[in-house]
């Protein structure tokens, strides 16, 4: 028998999660499918969708703050996000199609912890901070420290992602997703990068988690070829149902060169 708890405030939600092991649901674009097809064993859920405290896009000083429940559509439609973080808008446009964009949330993308999450390389190079709250209080985790392994995060069972804090991004933003088709596609290789004095590069779908590439970042200032060699060491793509390791490796190298070309 599935049960759904419906808190009316974030505080109530956190208290419920302190008391019981509950599976949070928001946009449901991923987790709910498992429930319907019987592949999800969880039985007790907590509905976050109506928690206003988790919504909203605003500036706090010069830090862009995105509520965890911000949908991809809201990101695409936000003038502020378009101005500050166009690579996140680019990524949002490539997620599913309009229906998915209207329900899928940035918090969900992060918590779902898929290595193929389209927003994750963007947040990695933007060096976002993830705000986690529990009944005990709040803590902030640097995006780079958030994932510990395949579908594993530092989140405790009673914590919720409440917001993302993104400092100003200096430099040219770049994003490319290679999906299985032009829309409604899971990424085979997804890359976000920022070109500046301190170039940052992150890739998804080429390792158990989204990965920043410090060796590649260091080498690219010297030459693209050197950076491509470093890239080959830093990523561990696999063969899976959608693509091959060889293809992913080749394409990642090509995209690196393309990024450098297009941001020169």
């Amino acid at each position: 028998m599935t049960e759904l708890l419906e808190p009316r405030s974030l505080r109530e939600a956190l208290a419920m999660m302190r008391r019981d092991a509950l599976t949070p649901i928001a946009g449901c674009t991923d987790i709910y499918v498992g429930l319907h097809f019987g592949t999800l064993s969880a039985k007790r859920f907590i509905n976050l969708w109506d928690l206003k405290e988790l919504r909203g896009i605003k500036l706090k000083g010069d830090v862009l703050v995105l509520g965890a429940l911000t949908t991809y559509s809201e990101l695409i439609e936000s003038r502020l996000v378009n101005r500050r973080l166009p690579m996140l808008v680019a990524a949002s446009r490539e997620v599913g199609g309009p229906q998915i964009q209207n329900r899928g949330t940035i918090g969900g993308n992060i918590a779902n912890a898929s290595p193929a999450g389209d927003s994750l390389p963007v947040l990695a190079v933007a060096e976002a901070s993830i705000v986690l709250k529990s009944a005990d209080g709040a803590r902030r985790i640097a995006f780079n420290d958030f994932y510990t392994g395949y579908r594993k995060t530092v989140m405790r069972p009673d914590e919720l992602i409440t917001a993302l804090e993104i400092p100003p991004v200096e430099g040219r933003q770049w994003f490319w997703k290679v999906g299985t088709r032009a829309a409604q596609a899971i990424s085979k290789v997804v890359m976000a990068a920022v070109r500046s004095e301190r170039t940052r590069i992150a890739l998804g779908s080429v390792a158990p988690t989204v990965v920043r590439l410090p060796k590649t970042e260091a080498a690219i200032g010297i030459s693209v070829e050197k950076a491509q060699r470093a890239l080959r060491e830093e990523i561990k793509p696999i063969d899976d149902i959608r693509s091959t390791a060889v293809y992913r490796l080749r394409v990642a190298c090509n995209l690196l060169a393309r990024f450098w070309r297009e941001t020169s």
Binding site: F37, G38, T180, R181, A183, I186, V189, I241, R250, N254
Partner: protein
């Protein structure tokens, strides 16, 4: 105002756009139970034990089958439910039904197996479903005197139909027998199969609004209908069995994968002197329709070209995978893929322009095909080729090395020569006060059957389109018009209806319809298929007039190629297609546009990943069909080169559009210098491709 040639409002349009049209899952019957199918998890072996825990459920095993445990098709080799021999993964073993879906889901069935070594590689299979040989002239001698011999092997994979509506039926015990309602292309196929399975004549099959078929609901529904019927008879209650997408993809039929080898002898001037072709089709675990898929495949294997010396050897073999079956094109997309990529390679070998090579060899009126069929005046192969080349500025773009490719192809309408005679299809027309009612087994599955038939009858009878209505395909009410397949619904069944309408008009004479009915009572005219005189076909030698008529087509595909990601995206697609006559221009264009889009998926995106003989990507997330973003506007150019025995000159249109897309796509990729010979042309495959 005549209806034929006009875009009349299709009969069920308003019901479909308002959401009022009812498909099988929209129906409910009092006391109805839901059903579940328990399937094998291994691909080959024997079942040694079955343990069932299913409280509150009705259970059906092979022991409950009153007639023969067989899904009657061409052969009787496929069981309805496994007894002990397992021949493929997802093979049905037993059935459950319950009025509580939670109980149904909670039931557990544990099957123990003694596995055996499965055979997955068709090239290694020695179990033959069918072999066909076509011989014309003397291939060995011609090869010996050829200026050059060009060889090549081409492969195609499975394709899944992805009709938006999955397979589904409701079986209702009625009047000492059973009625099955369902998403069905061929009600009489199901009817026949159920009679054998149930050992009873008290069977009625009714097609309800169907959300796409493409051949995937040609023979498969006999299986799902059989399952629902067995449960309904045991439970004595209506039973609904509708597959979810995952089960539909895992268990139902797919397009036959193929391996086609060409060995062609050419003269110095580019004439084809000898064509030696080997066709191998992977039939999966049981025969189903493999013999006929192979037949159409070999009959189209040369492509639309003339040659005096032809040898085609076709084999359909068994593998331990779910049986493959009908899918739009039915063997012709596979063999014409090979033929048209091979033509391109011949041109490359001779350093000749490939359009010129085609012009030299294309079939013309009066030429004979591989089976010795003389082509009539409606042969427009050269016309469609020239039209497509001109319209797309093909020569200029080719010279500029743009990734643009072309394919010339054809498609026989109707069943093969002997097939239509054997089917002996019937159609009936009933006089009504307003006009007439069409009684046929032909089904509306999206292509516009009801509308097109009504247009033909309306104009022949001389009544308004709205005065002609169409009865539901209900086997207790309509005659067997044969299956809704093989591009025959207009040309063959439409023609029979036309003859019915002519006779009705004659019988009415000067009486009005009401007067006639008052004076004479009801009037139903039934006519049967008549093969045009002069047509001959010999099944034993595979010689003669294979099809009543051929459609001719030429596709040009222009791609955009990303050298960083190896993605090829179609940006312009032109399909010039001779269909004889467009009874309804929008419906006809719809068939061309839809078939072409399905061909783009077949060429670039759609791949069935098999692991241990089971589809590993059985979901719409991982089996990729084109979205709106993947599909450019398709320029469908209808050519009308009338066939004199077609109603208003019409030939077939449903299948031909899918035959030529994949080779046009691959030929475009080849123009980048990549030696691609297999589909799907995924970016992964392209990135591994050698250079020409």
């Amino acid at each position: 105002m005549p209806a034929v040639g006009r875009n009349v409002l299709r009969k069920e349009a308003l019901a479909k756009v308002t959401g009022a049209a009812k498909y099988i899952d929209d129906f409910s019957f009092p006391g109805m139970l839901w059903a579940r199918t328990i399937r094998t998890t291994i691909a080959c072996g024997r079942i040694t034990d079955v343990a069932i825990s299913a409280p509150g459920c009705v259970i059906v095993t092979h022991a409950d089958i009153p007639g023969d445990n067989v899904i009657a098709c061409i052969e009787h080799d496929q069981p309805c439910l496994v007894e002990t021999d397992v021949r493929h993964a997802a093979e049905p073993v037993l059935l459950l039904a319950a009025d509580d879906r939670a109980k149904l889901a909670a039931a557990t069935v544990t099957i123990a197996y003694a596995p055996a070594a499965p055979l997955f590689d068709a090239r290694r299979s020695n179990t033959l479903f069918k072999k066909i040989d076509i011989v014309k002239g003397d291939v060995a001698a011609a090869l010996a005197r050829a200026h050059r011999i060009i060889e090549g092997t081409y492969t195609t994979g499975h394709q899944e139909h992805v009709y938006l509506e999955t397979n589904g039926v409701i079986a209702v015990p009625e009047e000492g027998g059973i009625t099955v309602y369902g998403s069905i292309q061929c009600p009489f196929y199901v009817h026949k199969a159920l009679k054998v399975l149930l050992g009873s004549d008290k069977v009625r099959v009714v097609q309800v609004e169907t959300g796409g078929g493409f051949g995937g609901k040609e023979e498969y529904p006999s299986m799902i209908a059989g399952h629902a019927a067995l449960l309904a008879l045991k439970a004595k209650r209506p039973v609904k069995l509708v597959y979810d997408r995952v089960e539909d993809m895992l268990a139902t039929t797919k397009r036959h994968p193929s391996v086609v080898r060409h060995r062609t002898g050419v003269a110095k001037d580019g004439r084809l002197l000898a064509m030696d072709i080997d066709v191998l089709m992977d039939g999966g675990a049981y025969a189903t329709l493999s013999p006929v898929v192979l037949s159409r495949g070999v009959l189209h294997a040369t492509g639309p070209y003339r040659c005096d010396n032809i040898r085609i050897v076709g084999r359909a073999v068994m593998t331990n995978t779910p049986p493959n079956g009908a899918f739009r094109g039915f063997g012709a997309p596979q063999t014409q893929f090979a033929a048209e990529v091979h033509m391109e390679r011949i041109a490359e070998a001779l350093a000749m322009d490939s359009v010129r090579l085609r012009e030299i060899n294309v079939l013309r009126s009066g030429d004979t095909t591989a089976t010795g069929q003389k082509l009539g005046s409606d042969c427009s192969a050269r016309k469609v080729l020239r039209d497509a080349v001109k319209r797309t500025n093909y020569a200029k773009k080719r010279a500029a090395r743009k990734p643009i490719g072309l394919a010339l192809f054809f498609h026989g309408s109707g069943f093969t020569g002997g097939g239509e005679v054997r089917l002996a299809s019937k159609a009936s027309l009933e006089l009504t006060p307003r006009g007439a009612r069409i009684l046929v087994a032909s089904t509306e599955i999206g292509q516009g059957t009801r509308t097109m038939h009504a247009q033909i009858v309306a104009d022949t009878l001389g009544v308004p389109f709205d005065a002609v209505d169409v009865a539901d395909p209900d086997t207790s009410r309509v005659p067997d018009s044969g299956p809704t397949v093989a591009s025959r619904t207009c040309m063959i069944v439409g023609r029979i209806l036309q003859r019915c309408a002519r006779e009705m008009k004659r019988k009415l004479g000067r009486l009005s319809r009401r007067e006639y009915l008052k004076r004479h009572g009801p009037l139903v005219i039934t006519k049967e298929y008549e093969r045009p005189s002069g047509m001959t076909w010999d099944d034993a030698t595979y010689r003669g007039d294979a099809y009543e008529a051929f459609g001719w087509a030429c596709d040009v595909v222009e791609l955009d190629f990303n050298p960083d990601t190896y993605e090829a995206r179609p940006i312009r697609v032109t399909a010039v297609q001779d269909i004889g006559k467009a009874i309804h221009p929008i419906l006809a264009a719809g068939q061309i546009e839809g078939g072409t889009a399905q061909g783009l998926g077949y060429a670039l995106l759609e791949e069935v990943v098999m692991r241990d003989g089971r589809m590993a990507n059985a979901s719409l997330t991982n089996y990729i069909i084109p979205t709106s973003m993947d599909t450019p506007e398709i320029d469908a150019v209808i050519v009308e080169s009338p066939y004199r025995h077609g109603p208003f000159g019409a030939k077939g249109v449903g299948e031909m559009p899918i035959d030529g897309v994949a080779p046009a796509v691959v030929n475009a990729i080849r123009h980048l210098g990549l030696d691609l010979r297999d589909i799907p042309a995924t970016p992964e495959r392209i990135s591994e491709c050698g250079l020409i």
